[in-house]
């Protein structure tokens, strides 16, 4: 069985799954129960400056019958008194020596306040500290959270203050509300942080109520931007995670990265590992389903690793990172076409309408006698199950016209029904980067591009 244990910048835990700094890790009682359920670690809900919270603090986006595709919140850092938090952190750590107890902190941007909080956290016996530079609401207006994370210089400065007194590993948590995530990460590297984590929540307005015309959720008639998280943000998190791994400074530093942002299942988690995360944090899925989800996170991950022959988490970390590239380096001669498995096809025609209305018009409806037919061409006097099912045409790709855009593949509701078939290249392999270097004029002038296409036999209808 695969070994799920990790050593993350010196913080050890029996599995890579930690509660993210958030409502599920708000109290000793909760973290205690999370550890009983099997969580490998917990990042305590951020402690620091005094706050007051409001009601109706969570909004959610429900889509297509799926509840909480995303959640947003205007909850602040812990509203429980600092002393109580510190005492409970110490108690939990004493009771669970094998689990990772990391404490998230956010205080006013002064060296002495940071020094003070770091000392007090270290006194609890906690395993590590996470610097919350990400909170996008409430705290940022007070010069904390994302107000720090969005300015690499502030990031670096505060991290330096922390590192002056830190005796346990320090993780800098990054905000995604920035145009280039690499910049604050480089600042963390420069300041000597032991690790980074990402992503914190994104700025968002979850919606507007169409009855009351108020912002959702309505806080006494008002609403505003809140931190956005949950399954919907995962692709954004994966991209930012990969960006750090590919950056020569951040990636080159080999600084461990704790990944989070929409992890709900072991499958999501495995993707984060493959793109370079070496510990994983979870919040929204726990807010939706409770601590119990850690069982399948571990079980599914372990079974997958066994199947793939990965002995430990470190065998997985960053394994797909070398495949992350950009358009400049993609092989322009790579060719794939869509093919529909007629046995599996349920004749919903979603591929047909997508291709016809939004892609390249290369799927035909073909009747049983081989004729191409138009939609809605049946006799209005015809009806009944038998008639409708037996006369329904099939959907077929005209492969010679298919550009391989993969839209039909994506809309098909049936597993493995549309497949993208790799076809032999018709041209020698070349990337846009190579083309811009070797034949720059082709990339700058439409006429030359047309000639190039003719030379290469590239026909776009």
């Amino acid at each position: 069985m695969a070994d799920l244990s990790i050593d993350f910048a010196g913080i050890r835990s029996p599995n890579p799954f930690w509660l993210a700094s958030a409502p599920p890790s708000n109290s000793g009682m909760q973290v205690h129960r999370a550890f009983e359920a099997g969580w490998g670690g917990a990042v305590w809900k951020t402690i620091g400056a005094p706050v007051l919270n409001v009601s109706n603090r969570y909004g959610a986006w429900h889509y297509g019958g799926q509840k909480m595709v995303a959640i947003n919140n205007v909850e602040l850092i812990s509203d429980r008194p600092l002393e109580i938090n510190l005492r409970e952190i110490a108690e939990v750590k004493r009771a669970w020596p094998d689990r990772a107890v990391v404490v998230s902190a956010m205080v006013e941007s002064k060296p002495e306040t940071w020094h003070d909080i770091i000392h007090r956290i270290q006194d609890t016996g906690a395993d590590g500290i996470e610097l919350n530079y990400g909170c996008p609401h409430g705290m940022s207006e007070r010069g904390m959270g994302s107000a720090v994370g969005q300015v690499p210089e502030y990031c670096e400065q505060i991290t330096r203050w922390v590192m002056e007194v830190a005796k346990i590993p320090v993780i800098v948590k990054l905000t995604p509300n920035i145009s280039d995530i690499v910049m604050p990460a480089r600042a963390a590297v420069a300041a000597g942080a032991n690790a980074v984590s990402l992503i914190n929540t994104l700025n968002s307005i979850i919606g507007v109520d169409l009855d009351t015309l108020e912002i959702t959720p309505s806080i006494g008639g008002k609403g505003g931007h809140g931190g956005y998280a949950g399954p919907a943000v995962k692709p954004i998190a994966l991209n930012m995670l990969a960006a750090l791994g590919k950056d020569e400074v951040v990636g080159g530093s080999k600084l461990p990265i704790s990944g989070m942002g929409g992890i709900s299942t072991w499958r999501d988690a495995a993707e984060f590992l493959l793109l370079g995360a070496s510990s994983l944090q979870v919040c929204t899925a726990v807010m939706h389903y409770g601590f119990r989800i850690v069982e399948d996170l571990c079980d599914g991950m372990s079974n997958w690793m066994d199947e793939k022959g990965f002995k430990g988490v470190s065998d997985v970390v960053g394994r797909s990172l070398h495949r992350v590239s950009d358009f400049n380096n993609f092989d322009l001669s790579f060719r794939a076409v869509a093919r529909i498995d007629q046995q599996k096809c349920i004749r919903c025609n979603l591929c047909y309408v997508a291709c016809n209305d939004a892609a390249h018009q290369c799927i035909d409806l073909i009747a049983k006698d081989g004729r191409i037919v138009q939609p809605q061409s049946y006799d209005i006097q015809a009806n009944g199950r038998e008639e409708a099912v037996s006369s329904r045409p099939g959907v077929y790709v005209r492969e010679e016209d298919c550009v391989g855009c993969r839209l039909c593949y994506n809309v098909c509701p049936v597993e493995d029904c549309v497949r993208m078939i790799e076809e032999p290249s018709r041209q020698p392999s070349v990337t846009w980067g190579q083309l811009s270097e070797s034949q720059r004029e082709v990339t700058e002038d439409w006429e030359k591009m047309q000639k190039y296409r003719e030379r290469m036999g590239i026909h776009i209808h």
Binding site: G64, I346, L365, A388
Partner: protein, 441 residues
């Protein structure tokens, strides 16, 4: 139970079987719809309702738009949502049916229709007056559909109905479990609001003649349905209760409907199943359906047969009733002959042949017959051309009498007679009538 309690229990025993979908159930079910393009459900629906469109509107909580989508194709969407044999039509053709559960199209349709009826929303208005007058004979689904469509086009429509209440089978003949009378009457009210005048208690060739119609109207539409249940021609026939009457009483006068302890229903079609359901649910201790062929040949839909078996009704196949025995006017037994299946008859089904000397007797105290209805008598009365006894119409639903159209069960020479087919006939006939009235200036 006291008499009063028993009467109240009876009132509830035939309440609509399926509860309405909750908002959340409807949302989840609507989200499950794949929104097929040129969808097979729409093709399978005789009125070709754009089903993915109305379902997606439920998903977006545009219920008014959803109901309008339904009613643009089928004015009697509330009835059809309840009585359509969806397994044979839209849901039967659903692409999710092969590996998953088909979308509950009927129940979603009911959800949208119930919304507009509960809110009293009028989705359509009478068209601009054309000055043309159309008479419709029979206020069942075909007549209501035709009348409503014509009124939307601005024609002045008068609906003559021989019974006290309009609605036809929806009002009188469909068991309350599937469609409460109020639903049918609400649809009639909607049609009336479009300007259609309903004159109840008026029968063609009794209270007025075809000549009257031709003199006073620019066109006529016959939607007279079918005739009475035929006789069995057996001794004691007068003691047998007519199934259509049994259903009607259960809907309009359930507390006073006499139900036997040991009931036999003769027949194995959908009406027979309704009769057996009524007997069982209103207190019979034993209900037996007697049919001269086997379950393979029965005309009831498969899902209806499944339903009635779960109701605990027993079957006596290959049995032909030959005599009802009574004592002092009270039924005591039904004598039957055992049958065997012979070569195919005119209906294409194996013909039942009596087995000599196989008489047996069922101890019963109530016998109900539901063995189909006779052909419309009006066809011969009016000397209209007919096809196997049904009124013959051309592709435009016009009878052999110019300007006189017909639709619904009275023209149904082939295929299963159903409400939705009648609605489609009425809609298409209205188009033809409209064209005639417009082109004749």
């Amino acid at each position: 139970m006291t008499d009063i309690q028993q009467r109240i229990a009876r009132l509830n025993a035939l309440d609509e079987l399926l509860p309405p979908l909750t908002r959340n159930e409807a949302a989840v079910e609507a989200a499950r719809c794949l929104m097929c393009y040129d969808a097979p459900c729409t093709h399978a629906c005789p009125t070709h309702i754009d089903i993915p469109k109305f379902i997606k509107k439920i998903a977006t909580e545009n219920l008014r738009g959803s109901a309008r989508t339904i009613m643009e194709s089928n004015l009697l969407g509330a009835t059809c949502a309840r009585v359509c044999p969806v397994q044979e039509l839209c849901e039967g053709a659903c692409v999710l049916g092969s590996e998953h559960k088909p979308i509950a199209i009927g129940r979603l349709q009911r959800y949208s229709m119930d919304f507009v009826y509960a809110k009293g929303i009028d989705l359509f208005r009478p068209g601009k007056d054309t000055g043309k007058k159309v008479a419709i004979i029979g206020a069942g689904p075909a007549g209501l559909s035709c009348g409503g469509e014509l009124a939307k086009l601005g024609h002045s429509v008068t609906l003559f109905e021989k019974r006290d209440l309009p609605g036809g089978l929806s009002t009188y003949g469909i068991i309350g479990l599937r469609e409460p009378t109020e639903v049918a009457l609400a649809e009639v009210a909607m049609i009336e609001k479009l300007g259609v005048k309903v004159e109840s208690g008026k029968e063609l060739e009794k209270d007025f003649t075809m000549a009257d119609l031709q003199a006073n109207f620019d066109a006529a539409f016959l939607s007279v349905g079918l005739g009475a249940t035929p006789g069995l021609g057996i001794p004691g026939e007068e003691l047998i209760i007519d199934g259509m009457n049994y259903i009607e009483r259960s809907k309009l006068d359930a507390p006073n409907l006499v139900i036997g302890h040991n009931v036999v229903v003769i027949g194995a079609g959908n009406t027979a199943i309704d009769c057996a359901t009524i007997a069982k649910r209103l207190g019979a201790s034993q209900v037996t359906m007697v049919y001269r062929r086997t379950e393979k040949e029965m005309t009831a839909y498969a899902h209806e047969y499944d339903f009635i078996k779960r109701e605990g009704v027993r079957f006596c196949f290959l049995a032909q009733p030959v005599r009802v025995n009574a004592k002092n006017g009270t039924v005591k037994s039904l004598e039957c002959l055992q049958m065997t299946l012979g070569p195919a008859d005119a209906s294409g089904r194996p013909s039942p042949q009596p087995v000599a000397g196989s008489e047996f007797s069922l101890a019963v105290d109530q016998v109900v017959k539901a063995i189909g209805q006779q052909k419309p008598s009006l066809a011969s009365q009016l000397k209209l051309e007919n096809e196997k006894g049904f009124i013959r119409v051309n592709a435009n639903f016009e009878t052999s009498l110019p300007g006189v159209y017909a639709g619904g069960d009275c023209i149904r020479t082939r295929g299963a007679a159903s409400t939705v087919m009648a609605v489609q006939d009425g809609k298409l006939a209205a188009r033809s009538i409209h064209e005639r009235l417009v082109s004749h200036g």
